[in-house]
């Protein structure tokens, strides 16, 4: 009997041994293939953020720009386009699917989240503190940057009165795909954008290895852009000023090493020129406003003076209209949407004009325009002491300088909140379409497959 019970003990011991073996997690954590590179070290994570195909190229959403009034389609272009994109042109966008601006932006956000998650598991090493800071700052910057672009596209303009309830975008803050998506409020979203952008500035260097990488200037530029879109002009002014304290170079269109031979060239400027603070491109999946199809609005084209060199640098005649030459991307078919000094000068000038600093506003505006106008005859500075006139001039120059840069859609939204009363009108196919100020459609529809898979609410029509 004792022998039998001893055997029972052996049996129990075995069972215990088995359970121990099963829980022996470390044993099962070894990577099954040594070549399955699982990015874990700080160097690996930096490499994940340096994958420009995901982090910078064709990444910012583009259906907002396609809904703007800076361009028009010829009848033939319109009628030969797929119905989905015809509807986009006439502000009736219905179901559309992967791949799109939503997916491209969230792909970059996944990489950023992955790095932030992994960084938390990687013990700091004193000799690699700068590298670690750069990964942390960059990941926060990218996430904040793409959250902001998604907000501009898919949410209504920031309005303190309703931002607590207006649906924003999905704030994904981790890399586990099993976590369900839900839409945060516009306020929560802006808080996240602003908070992360402020946080990341502390980690980032002033001068990055490449403008594809975020920098301190880029973080401040991002804050200036975000605050401007929220119509918080004091803050926007503050960060625009900080940004220009680091990055303030402008290309002189009269002659500059960053000009590719001549401003009349097809590609007038070198790709990563002195004005670029942070480089990103617009998602090109909605090719309705691709440079070959989108003809520049004739009224807009007429706004450029004859001695405004931008008229030559930006446009060329193309199949019965004017096409935009896609400055800054070095590629005639891609739109630049990154952060550049010209935009920061214009933000600063606008905020100054709106906060009663008229001389400073004129100074900044003229600094920019002097580089844009021909010096064949000396530049005549714009001067006025009427705040409304100055603001009007700055907004006009903003539209002329920043067309097809991914800012016009947000500008229309926020300016309408300032009672600019911009009504968009399109005449095509024998019909007239209008988009009234502050329409629900300014929060563009989310992709249909996202609504289905994530079960989140679609924007109101």
């Amino acid at each position: 009997m004792t022998l039998l019970s001893k055997n029972r003990n052996i049996a129990w011991l075995m069972i215990i041994a088995m359970v121990t073996a099963i829980s022996c997690k470390k044993y099962l954590e070894k990577s099954p293939d040594a070549r399955l590179a699982v990015p874990q070290s700080v160097t690996d994570l930096q490499a994940v953020l340096d994958f420009t195909n995901v982090m910078n190229l064709y990444t910012t959403p583009g259906i907002g720009e396609a809904s703007c009034d800076d361009y028009y389609l010829q009848e033939s272009t319109y009628s030969s386009s797929p119905v989905t994109w015809q509807n986009l042109y006439t502000w009736q966008l219905g179901d559309y699917f992967f791949q799109n601006g939503w997916s491209k932006a969230y792909n970059a956000i996944y990489n950023a989240n992955y790095c932030l998650d992994e960084l938390a598991n990687t013990p700091p090493a004193p000799q690699a503190q700068d590298a670690r800071n750069n990964v942390k700052g960059s990941a926060l910057f990218y996430r904040s940057y793409y959250f902001m672009h998604l907000l501009w596209e898919f949410a209504k303009a920031y309005d303190p009165a309703s931002s607590n309830t207006d649906p924003g975008i999905v704030l994904r803050l981790g890399s586990d795909f099993n976590v369900p998506s839900k839409r945060a409020s516009v306020k929560e979203c802006y808080d996240r954008v602003i908070g992360d952008a402020k946080l990341c500035a502390g980690y980032l260097p002033e001068h990055p290895a490449h403008v594809m990488r975020p920098s301190k200037g880029a973080a401040w530029g991002l804050l200036a852009k975000a605050y401007l879109s929220m119509r918080e002009y004091d803050s926007a002014l503050h960060y625009a000023t900080l940004c220009l304290s680091i990055d303030h170079d402008l290309i002189d269109y009269n002659g500059d090493p960053d000009i590719n031979g001549s401003i009349s060239a097809t590609v007038p400027f070198v790709r990563f020129n002195k004005e670029v603070i942070f480089y990103s491109e617009m998602n090109n999946n909605n090719f309705i406003n691709s440079p070959t199809k989108a003809k520049i609005d004739t009224l807009l084209y007429a706004m450029y003076d004859s001695n405004d060199l931008r008229k030559t640098a930006f446009f060329r005649v193309y199949s019965g209209g004017y096409r935009f030459k896609c400055i800054y991307t070095g590629n005639i078919s891609q739109y630049f949407t990154g952060i550049a000094t010209d935009e920061i000068y214009l933000i600063k000038a606008e905020c100054e004009a709106r906060t009663g600093k008229i001389p400073e506003a004129l100074d900044d505006l003229n600094t920019l325009l002097q580089k844009r106008y021909s010096n064949a005859t000396p530049y005549v500075a714009f001067i006025s002491d009427d705040p409304a006139t100055v603001l009007q001039k700055i907004l006009q120059e903003r539209r002329k300088e920043l067309l097809m840069r991914g800012v016009r859609w947000m500008d229309i939204k926020r300016l309408n909140k300032e009672n600019a009363n911009i009504t968009l009108v399109r005449n095509i196919g024998g019909q007239t379409y209008t988009l009234l100020p502050n329409a629900n459609y300014y929060a563009l529809p989310l992709p249909a497959d996202i609504i289905q898979a994530a079960g989140i609410a679609q924007n109101e029509k």
């Binding site: 359970v19 990015p39 490499a47 890399s175």
Partner: protein, 1073 residues
């Protein structure tokens, strides 16, 4: 769920019929049952009291104890394969030895080896097939798995069905498919442990038996990797108390030279005419203008004629000469030969009380149709010691060394000139001297390029193979060590360790004279045209490529075995734990300027791009080094128990849990075992049973789960590293995201089985009916891509499938006298379909257009399935016609679009049926007269379809060559009434070709019957005192061709457009001393 319910109801039935029988405390009789031939202990023998009605079963040592109420009585002792014996008992005694005589002509009793347990067939409730040594000897292939073909119930060989997964090596499916995207191979187990080496290393001469575990109850003990079924290979072992036995055998197999002329190729003359047509249309002008692009011989002639270099008469003479050449006969004459295989084996075994041993050695030599050789030697030692009463020690080692060397060039491997198939190549002149064939560079260019400073740039296929030699050396060792310790009567403990290592060392050597080396050296030569100096970026000399791969696996298993019988009860149970680690390491390297004597090589620059000689384009020197390392770890616990009551009710259950480093963390952390349960009821042992003509009838049922793991998947995020194309900074692209929920695929299976045997065994057999349900299968599924954005679908455990089928085995003895005639019929039925899949292609019949030889999940359809365009005949210009908006149409792109937009609707596309056999099996007739035995195996496959090879004009124009139906093409109005082959319209329209090739007129029924093999043998019966115990001489002919087929085109449905396996003949002898 429904099946589970049925199962439990059935499980409850016999329990209701049970009478609780109390054991009396009367005296007992005990003893041991042994075999009369070799004194082997006959565990599992049934001992029955004729008066007392009690029965027990002997344990594995042959021992039994039976309670006897009243004396005298008679013991009825029976055991499968032995004559039943009656032993009168008059007093209570121990130490009775009962000797059973084996049934003449019957083999040793079948043992079911699950890899964890050895069981008698009546202890098994699951569906199991055991292929014994004698059946394995009916076929002569050198691969043990190939000998299972057409003799194993429920097992199919799906040759020619391509699926892109490196884990699919065997082409074997057991009871159809259990997975959509996972590995398809069944699990191969060799001597109790998973075998992941090269199956060709195992010599069939060393194999005692093969057990195929088919249903969940049988296979689930293997857990997460048993979903495709398990094939357990058991090697021969020595036996205790056995005289020295020596067995030698020798087999020679001859395989016919393939008949290349049977390939359905269009004629040479037609091919040349098409080249002429294309030449006139200017198709080759681009290539001609470049100067260096290789041209076919016919085009060279047309060009010379066009340029006035030869007269029209000479031109047509040369063209006629080309038309008179057939590459196929050139290949056949210069490269192909009959293949030979020689197999020799020697094995010695014996045993004393303390030691059972076996030593064997074997040698195989293959020379294939292309003179490639494969030599293999196996050496094996197997020892079981019995040093103490309770202890058994097992030590085994199996060593394999093999070497293969490449041979001549296979059909079609040299006939592509400039990517174009040339059916009129000549390899030798009339005197047998090698002729050059244009290869990578234009023939005329070679004459002038490099001003004589480069190496000879001619390619001589007839010589070249001598200068390119691929060699693969393999050595493998499998070592087993184990102990069995009997703790107390019912309980024993075993500890087993197995080490496997397989090392392959491959090389490919192209010597200085090889075209490969000369061509590369020339391409990377830089010629200074003023000084005439040549600098070689690739140094002069040969090129040697090396690859080394080592797979090591280690297994440790600890197991408790419990086996006890008391009165009418018998319990067998095991419980254990095991860990397994498989590590694979590989490296590769390449040496230029290589010379074997003296051994030397030169360093080259793999980093920088160099201009190449012909085009000036920049290129890297090919092939730098490579390294790989993989590691799989498993930790498992398992238990299995069976309880038998009254020798007729058997209840069994098993459970197993696996953890692995390829599964997600959350899967490893969960305690969710794979389980099974089974029930067996030997109806014929019931008192109420009165069918004397059917003395044996058993019903079985089982239900359970097994899993399937894709070893190439990872739960971790995977990135590819590189340098950013814009910034130049190192970058990492995350291509697969982390999936902590990744788990194994799960297959549930419900099985109903029936085994029977009529009186005098003239008719016996079994029938199994099963349902399979695969869940958690890997599948593409849309997801909320807000989470990632790179893709809109990811692979998760989301897909489901269903399968059902039956396996029937019938054996009859038709004539039983001095002349015997036995028949065995195998019938298998299996269908499967996708039940849940979520990508767009799975809801579209257009996914099934094509040959149906790839798994293509379409909901509601079989995994291999064929759909085809509806056919509306040829129009008056010879264009194939389909339907668009229910109207006859030739707008092929629109027809496809309509089909695509219609999804699963059959409008202008028709669903045809399965692409793999749904009914298959074989009929084996055996005739015996004295020592002479004749066995004929006829196999059949029914219920499936194939696409017949058809003519593609785009292929004909861009690559040359096409189907022989070119001769029947539409050529003039009116032809549409007599042919379905479209006209040759130039320029070609690939959508038109695709429509025709995938239309219903090209889909044919595959059903056919094949004469698989004929085996004739003569056995000399053993004379007791002679040195020679037995001698068997045999002749075998295999792959004898198709006896009947449903298609009228004389096509082999399993090999459409290619050659059927050639007929092979073997003769052999084996002798026992």
């Amino acid at each position: 769920m429904k099946y589970k319910l049925i199962f439990f109801v059935l499980a409850a039935l016999p329990a209701a019929g049970l009478n609780a029988q109390m054991l009396s405390k009367a005296h007992a009789i005990s003893g041991r049952v042994v075999s009369a031939t070799d004194g082997e202990y006959l565990g599992g023998a049934t001992i029955r009291l004729l008066k007392g009605k009690a029965a027990v079963m002997a344990v594995s040592s042959g021992m039994f104890t039976i309670q006897v109420l009243h004396l005298p009585d008679t013991l009825q002792v029976s055991h499968t394969g032995f004559h039943t014996q009656l032993v009168p008992v008059n007093n209570y005694a121990g130490g009775l030895t009962i000797t059973l005589q084996p049934v003449a002509g019957e083999l040793e009793p079948v043992v079911v080896n699950t890899g964890y347990q050895r069981l008698k067939p009546n202890e098994v409730n699951g569906a199991v097939t055991v292929i014994d040594n004698k059946t394995l000897a009916m076929q002569t292939g050198t691969n043990i798995l190939s000998r299972l073909k057409d003799v194993t119930s429920g097992l199919a060989f799906n040759e020619g069905y391509t699926n892109n997964n490196i884990q699919n090596k065997t082409a074997i499916s057991i009871r159809g498919l259990s997975t959509i995207n996972g590995p398809l191979d069944p699990l191969i187990v060799l001597d109790n442990f998973i075998y992941e080496g090269d199956i060709a290393s195992i010599n069939p001469a060393d194999i005692e038996s093969v057990t195929v575990l088919k249903d969940a109850a049988a296979a689930s003990i293997w857990g997460a990797r048993a979903g495709n079924g398990v094939i357990v290979i058991t090697t021969k072992k020595g036996k205790f108390n056995q005289k020295l036995q020596v067995e030698i055998s020798s087999t020679v197999t001859l395989m016919q030279k393939p008949n290349l002329n049977a390939l359905p190729e269009m004629s040479v003359a037609d091919n040349v005419d098409v080249e002429q047509f294309l030449f006139n249309k200017g198709y080759f002008d681009d290539d001609i203008s470049k100067g260096y692009v290789p041209l076919t011989p016919a085009v060279e002639v047309f060009l010379k004629a066009k340029n006035g270099l030869i007269s029209p008469a000479d031109s047509s003479g040369e063209i006629d000469a080309l038309k008179g050449i057939d590459s196929r006969s050139q290949y056949s004459r210069y490269f192909y030969q009959p293949a030979y295989t020689q197999q020799y084996a020697l094995n010695l075994r014996g045993g004393s009380q303390q030691l059972a041993w076996l030593i064997s050695g074997s040698y195989n030599r293959d020379i294939d149709n292309l003179s490639a050789t494969y030599n293999k030697a196996n050496f094996r030692l197997s020892n079981t010691y019995h040093p103490a009463k309770n202890l058994e020690i097992i030590l085994d080692a199996y060593y394999t060394a093999s070497k293969s060397v490449t041979g001549k060039y296979a059909y079609n491997s040299v006939s592509a000139i400039g990517g174009r198939y040339v059916p009129y190549l000549r390899f030798a002149d009339d005197h047998g001297n090698p002729l050059p064939v244009t290869n990578g560079v234009n023939a005329n260019y070679i004459d002038t390029a490099g001003a004589g400073k480069l190496l000879n740039w001619q390619y001589y296929p007839l010589e070249d193979y001598k200068h390119n030699r691929g060699t693969a050396n393999l050595d493998a060792i499998i070592a087993n060590a184990g102990i069995n310790y009997h703790l107390l009567k019912p309980l024993s403990f075993s500890l087993q360790y197995q080490f496997q290592q397989q090392r392959t060392n491959s090389s490919y050597y192209s010597d200085t004279a090889s075209y490969h080396a000369r061509n590369l050296i020339n391409l990377f030569s830089q010629l200074n045209r003023t000084t005439g100096q040549v600098s070689h970026i690739i140094p002069l000399g040969g090129i040697m490529q090396h690859t080394n791969n080592v797979i090591k696996s280690q297994n440790v298993r600890a197991q408790l075995n419990f086996s006890r019988q008391w009165g009418l009860h018998a319990v067998t149970a095991i419980a254990g734990a095991e860990t397994r680690e498989v590590a694979a390491n590989g490296d590769g390297s390449i040496f230029y300027g290589y010379n074997s004597n003296p051994l030397s090589y030169a360093n080259v620059d793999f980093v920088n791009y160099y201009p190449t000689f012909v085009t000036g384009g920049y290129s890297l020197i090919p092939g730098a080094t490579s390294l790989s390392a993989a590691n799989n770890r498993f930790v498992s616990v398992y238990a299995n128990a069976s309880y038998t009551l009254l020798d007729r009710y058997t209840l069994s259950a098993s459970a197993r849990k696996d953890g692995s480093n390829i599964l997600g963390v959350t899967t490893n952390d969960k305690w969710k075992p794979l389980w099974s349960a089974g029930l067996g009821w030997e109806v014929s042992k019931e008192k109420f049973y009165s069918l004397t003509w059917l003395p044996y009838l058993k019903l079985r049922t089982s239900y359970g789960y097994s899993g399937n793991v894709d070893l190439s998947r990872s739960a971790l995020p995977v990135a590819g590293y590189g340098n950013d194309f814009i910034t130049g900074l190192p970058d990492a692209s995350i291509n697969t995201i982390n999936n902590p929920g990744l788990k194994w695929e799960q297959t549930g299976q419900l099985n109903f089985g029936l085994d029977f045997r009529t009186a005098s065994s003239s008719f016996s057999g079994s029938a199994d009916y099963y349902f399979k349900k695969g869940t958690n299968l890997y599948g593409q599924t849309p997801y909320d891509y807000t989470a990632w954005g790179m893709q809109n679908t990811i692979i998760k455990n989301v897909a489901d499938m269903k399968g059902k089928g039956m396996d029937i085995v019938l054996r009859t003895t038709n004539i039983n006298g001095r002349f015997k005639w036995n028949t065995m019929l195998l019938y298998n039925y299996n269908t499967s379909k996708t039940t849940a899949y979520y990508d767009d292609a799975s809801r579209n019949l257009t996914s099934l257009l094509g040959p149906g030889r790839n798994i293509s999940p379409v909901v509601g359809k079989p995994l291999y399935a064929i759909a085809a365009y509806k056919w509306a005949g040829l129009d008056k210009e010879g264009n194939p016609q389909g339907y668009l908006n229910k109207q006859v149409s030739t707008d092929y792109a629109a027809i496809y679009d309509e089909a695509f937009n219609n999804g699963l609707e059959e409008d202008n596309v028709r669903y045809i049926g399965s692409g793999i056999p749904t009914s298959f099996g074989s009929l084996i007739n055996t005739f015996l007269w004295k020592g002479l035995e004749l066995s004929i195996n006829i196999s059949y496959k029914f219920g499936y379809y194939f696409i017949k090879p058809s003519l593609s004009y785009s292929g004909l124009v861009s690559q040359g060559g096409g189907d022989k139906e070119y001769a029947n093409r539409w050529q003039k109005p009116g032809d549409e009434l007599i042919t379905n082959v479209p006209s040759f319209a130039y320029p070609v329209n690939s959508a038109r070709d695709a429509f025709y090739g995938e239309s219903e007129i090209n889909v044919l029924r595959s059903d056919h019957i094949r004469l698989q093999y004929i085996d004739v043998s003569y056995s000399l019966s053993a004379k007791d005192n002679s040195l020679l115990h037995g001698l068997r001489v045999f002749f075998n002919a295999a792959n004898l061709g198709i006896l009947w087929r449903a298609n009228k085109y004389n096509l082999d449905p399993d090999y459409p457009g290619t050659l059927s396996p050639p007929v092979s003949f073997s003769i052999g002898v084996s002798a026992n001393f």
